[in-house]
């Protein structure tokens, strides 16, 4: 189980980091979202994995560690706030620079649109 969980976090991290390193805001946002999924799972796992031991007093014989759960809950909400801000900042970037390159570059029209056509004709 632990190995599986670890690999899942690894996969989330891999995808997250790869997308974080992309040149457009949208993939970057998605990368950070994936990364934060991975991070939340990791932080959650710092209290170890337990089955059916929800930390609600009186419902089971033993309880999983509630503290990481509370931390992750906080982290999820904060992560959401941050993501929302970033998404809107990306929109602002789009408005200001007429494209969504992370560095605000003006579109190299010919090359990019060609690629886009390739995609859309697929």
């Amino acid at each position: 189980m632990e190995l599986l969980f670890a690999i899942a976090i690894g996969a989330l991290t891999t995808s997250g980091v790869y997308l974080l390193l992309r040149a457009r805001t949208f993939p970057v946002v998605m990368g950070l979202t994936l990364l934060s999924y991975g991070v939340n799972l990791f932080l959650f796992a710092s209290g170890r994995l337990a089955t059916g031991q929800q930390p609600v007093i009186g419902t089971t014989a033993s309880y999983s560690d509630p503290l990481p759960q509370a931390l992750v809950l906080t982290a999820i909400v904060i992560g959401f706030a941050m993501t929302a801000f970033l998404v809107v900042l990306s929109l602002r970037n789009l408005a200001d620079n007429e494209n969504d390159h992370v560095d605000g570059r003006r579109e190299a029209t010919t090359a990019a649109s060609k690629v886009e056509q390739e995609v859309s004709s697929k």
Partner: protein, 933 residues
């Protein structure tokens, strides 16, 4: 008290001077003179102590941790310099009064001049090396401001910058040197340092300290190869040149070498570094001086040369040479200051300083000419003038150096050669300016004598030249003795201040220099022709080239590194993390902990497989954005399932709700964005990124694996035990959130609130044009609000509110709570927006989201602050059970109010954020309640 006062007075004067600006130029000049007069009066009483070979010391503690004190120390050397600074300073003030034009900022001029004077006095009177350094750098700063006094002149600005760079930079080296000395001696007090000469010289760091100190001294005193700043500093108004660049500031380096003579001199390093630098400077300055057509240029290089001479004398290391050095300091200050002032008068009267145009001034201004000629003769070393005396001593000492073999010939030859040049340029100064035919094309013609009292300072100085030249013992004897004694640390050798020491080798050298110089001047055209062939290496050009080169390199280097690419910065971050994390991990090897692995049940395995596939597929197909978004929501869903699977129902619910809101948010944004990400990265870049990402993923996998298999115990036992009795709830996660760690939660809803407010502000003035249709070429449908959706959305709202209430109220005891309830309510309202549109929905929502956010924060804060009234800390909760007759037992918990704050803040923030984006849509650009802010 009097010594600090001497230093302080000019600064006070500098502050006061502008106040007198109203009273006119005379008032300000007089006001500026007062500090010097008082200072002179304050120094006078100390003479009795000094003449007896004593020192005066006034110390006040300042920063003991640094070893820095307000320590002021007066001895012969300090007195000599202080007198030079004060007296010549006074003369310069008088001279400036006539020199400056009425239109100029006289107040600033005097103010800066007084600042400079105070700093200079600070250097010579400091009894603490660090204090001295402070004043040292202050002179660099004030001189920077003074040189660029005429800020409109580009040369002045450049000259000033160069002077600041060289002398300020030297000051930093000096700082290093002083700190090392302080480190060696254990004190920065001058008395301690001077007493510890042997200890310093024996220390391993002595060569470093010496080099650093000398760097400071050489730069300040314009020694080769740092000499070039000085001639360019001559862009300053002439009184400044006279004061700073002949009499005082450039002497600061000399002063420093003299001051630290007992502590640093007398070693081979000292000898070679100082004397050879001095020699090179002496010769180079004298040589170049001859070829300068600019009057001040000639004087400037001559100054460089004389500074070299003094340095050479100090470097020789013999006591007599040191005496000669001190003597020449006095003499040079007097004749050179008067020459500068004379040059200033000529400039003032003719409008130019170009000697090729200035000729035959004798006919127009004989009085000035006479004064200048006397001073120039002193510079040339003509007998009966003070310059001759110290030069004779210099020649004599140049013969005394114990150099091996033929090397012994070098100092006297250099000395004589420099003497020849000195005579030649002095002759040029006299002949070319005052004789040599008629003036050529002068800007002001005819020139005439300056105002009577503009010449007064020159007269005083020339008088001093003659007095010292004829009656050396009477005029400067005691002062020189006292200064020499202070320099040498008490042992003053026998020396005689006679007009003539008889016919000896030095006199012969003088004759040689004199006639050789005259001869050279008569043959000057040949030398000019010869010099013209040489490619002149201008230090300034080199310096400026170097600086601009450095700046260019800095600029391109910065642009290269800080290239504005987020991809690079992010890559650096990720790689840094991998680098620093992998090391400790690799050190002990990767491992699986003591608990080992537990078996996998296959549904979990399949879910994890789906998660992994979806995560990787998101990255793989990220360029098709909507597709990637769908994959992302699969990942989010499975993460939520994972939380449920591993005993975290609260997390599962939070994750689910947040995920949906996030997806909606991303789609709101995606509307305006391209539907596809263009292929931009090169193949190598993608391969690189994949490798980095794999490394990061592998790292996380290994860390997680290690972590999960280690045995563990935590502080959570406490939470589990106290949740019910202490926090009044059985859902420990919720009790942690609203009670044990309620402060985190307060911070977290603040984050949410700020994000929403920030989003709102950011989008308020943003105009985005949405695409007319999707990327496949379909125009959007006109069907904004589908009937079935509208119909289902309405009953969903009360139902969802009911569920929210349920989730909210049970949260303290069962999975749920304010966050999740808030998100459910938000999502239900978002559904209304989706189904029926902005305008319709907002018409039915009777509050501003801003206020909901504020209310949420307020509730949470007030709930937390309530306990303060009972003397308990912020966020202390209470709960109890109320039994009502019919209703039964009710739990009432103050944490519920806090959670209500959370609930409201979540609703306000989520909706404000999403609705702000929705409002961008042109369709909703209709007046609504939220408009206006």
């Amino acid at each position: 008290m009097s010594l600090p006062l001497v230093v302080l007075l000019p600064f006070l004067g500098a502050i006061a001077a502008p106040l007198f600006a109203q009273g006119g130029r005379t008032a300000i000049a007089i006001a500026s003179s007062v500090p010097a007069l008082i200072a002179l009066a304050a120094l006078f009483p100390h003479w009795s102590v000094l003449s007896a070979g004593g020192t005066v010391l006034h110390t006040y503690e300042w920063l003991p941790v640094l070893g820095l004190s307000f320590s002021f120390r007066l001895d012969g050397l300090a007195l000599l310099f202080a007198l030079l600074i004060l007296v010549i300073g006074l003369l310069v003030i008088i001279y400036s009064h006539y020199y400056l034009k009425a239109s100029e900022n006289v107040a600033k001029f005097y103010s800066l001049l007084l600042c400079f004077k105070g700093s200079m006095l600070g250097i010579v009177l400091s009894g603490n090396l660090l204090l001295m350094l402070i004043f040292w750098e202050l002179t660099s700063l004030t001189s920077f401001l003074l040189i660029s006094f005429w800020t409109h002149k580009q040369d002045a600005r450049r000259g000033a910058r160069m002077a600041l760079a060289i002398t300020g930079g030297g000051g930093l080296a000096l700082l290093g040197g002083i700190l090392l000395i302080g480190n060696i001696v254990g004190s920065f007090e001058l008395d301690d340092v001077l007493a510890a000469g042997d200890q310093i010289k024996a220390h391993a760091l002595y060569p470093v300290a010496l080099t650093l100190v000398l760097l400071g001294a050489f730069t300040k005193s314009a020694q080769f190869p740092f000499h070039f700043w000085l001639p360019h500093a001559m862009q300053a108004p002439t009184p400044i040149s006279a004061y700073l660049h002949s009499a005082t500031m450039v002497k600061a380096g000399i002063f420093l070498m003299a001051r630290l003579y007992p502590a640093l001199a007398g070693t081979e390093q000292w000898f070679y570094m100082v004397s050879f630098t001095g020699m090179a400077t002496l010769l180079l300055g004298a040589y170049i001086a001859m070829f300068k057509h600019d009057l001040k240029g000639l004087l400037a290089y001559s100054t460089v040369s004389h500074l070299g001479l003094i340095t050479l004398l100090l470097g020789m290391g013999t006591q007599l040479a040191a005496v000669a050095a001190i003597f020449h300091v006095i003499n040079h200050a007097t004749f050179k200051a008067s020459l500068f002032m004379a040059a200033g008068i000529i400039d003032h009267e003719t409008g130019t300083r170009d000697m090729r145009r200035i000729n035959g001034l004798w006919r127009y201004m004989p009085h000035t000419a006479t004064l200048a000629m006397v001073a120039a003769s002193s510079m040339a070393g003509v007998p009966l003038l003070n310059g001759f005396l110290s030069k004779e001593m210099f020649f004599a000492e140049s013969l005394q150096l114990n150099l091996p073999g033929l090397w012994a010939w070098i100092p006297p030859i250099v000395a004589t050669l420099a003497g020849i040049f000195a005579v030649a340029y002095s002759a040029r100064f006299v002949h070319d300016v005052f004789f040599n035919g008629k003036p050529v094309d002068l800007p002001k013609f005819p020139p005439h004598e300056p105002p009577r009292y503009m010449k007064f300072p020159v007269e005083i100085l020339v008088f001093a030249c003659i007095m010292v030249g004829v009656f050396p013992t009477v005029s400067v004897g005691p002062l020189l003795y006292s200064a020499a004694s202070a320099t040498l640390g008490g042992d003053v050798p026998d020396y005689q201040l006679a007009i003539l020491h008889g016919f000896n080798l030095p006199l012969l050298m003088s004759f040689l220099a004199f006639f050789g110089g005259l001869l050279m001047y008569t043959q000057r055209q040949r030398f000019f022709d010869f010099h013209a062939q040489l490619k002149e290496v201008d230090g300034k050009a080199v310096f400026e080239f170097a600086v601009s080169k450095i700046e260019d390199m800095a600029r391109s280097f910065t642009k290269w590194l800080e290239n504005g690419s987020l991809q690079r910065y992010a890559m650096l971050l990720v790689v840094s993390v991998i680098a620093v994390t992998i090391m400790p991990l690799a050190e002990h090897g990767f491992f699986i902990g003591e608990n080992g692995l537990s078996p996998v049940d296959w549904p979990t395995g399949i879910a994890a497989g789906v998660l992994i596939i979806a995560a990787l597929a998101t990255a793989l197909w990220h360029r098709e954005r909507f597709y990637a978004l769908v994959l992302l929501s699969v990942v989010g869903l499975i993460v939520a399932l994972a939380f449920a699977r591993f005993s975290a129902p609260d997390l599962a619910m939070t994750q689910l709700s947040v995920e949906v809101v996030t997806i909606v948010l991303l789609m709101l944004a995606l509307y305006y964005m391209p539907s596809w990400t263009p292929m931009e990265s090169s193949r190598s870049r993608r391969v690189r990124d994949v490798l980095i990402a794999l490394a990061a993923g592998a790292g996380m996998t290994l860390i997680t694996l290690a972590m999960l298999t280690q045995p563990f115990s935590s502080i959570s036992e406490f939470f589990l035990e106290n949740s019910k009795p202490g926090g009044g709830g059985t859902n420990v996660v919720n009790v942690i959130l609203v009670d044990f760690r309620g402060f985190d939660t307060l911070g977290e809803i603040t984050v949410l609130a700020i994000a929403a407010l920030g989003i709102y502000a950011m989008l308020k003035n943003t105009a985005l044009t949405p695409p007319p249709g999707d990327g496949l070429g379909h125009a959007w449908t006109r069907d904004h609000y589908p009937l079935m959706l509208r119909q289902i959305a309405r009953p969903m709202l009360p139902l969802a509110l009911m569920v929210s209430a349920y989730i909210f109220l049970r949260g303290h005891n069962l999975p749920g709570g304010g966050f999740i309830a808030g998100l459910i309510t938000s999502v239900a309202l978002i559904l209304q927006y989706i189904a029926s549109g902005m305008v319709w929905t907002e018409d039915r929502i009777p509050f501003r989201y801003h206020n909901v956010i504020g209310l949420g924060l307020l509730f949470a804060t007030i709930a937390g602050a309530g306990s303060l009234a009972f003397g308990y800390p912020f966020l202390t909760t209470t709960f109890g059970y109320i039994t009502w007759p019919v209703v039964g037992k009710f739990e009432v918990a103050s944490a519920l109010v806090f959670d209500l704050g959370v609930y409201l803040a979540v609703i306000g923030a989520t909706l404000l954020a999403l609705v702000s984006i929705g409002r961008l849509s042109p369709h909703s650009a209709i007046k609504s309640k939220m408009e206006g802010a």
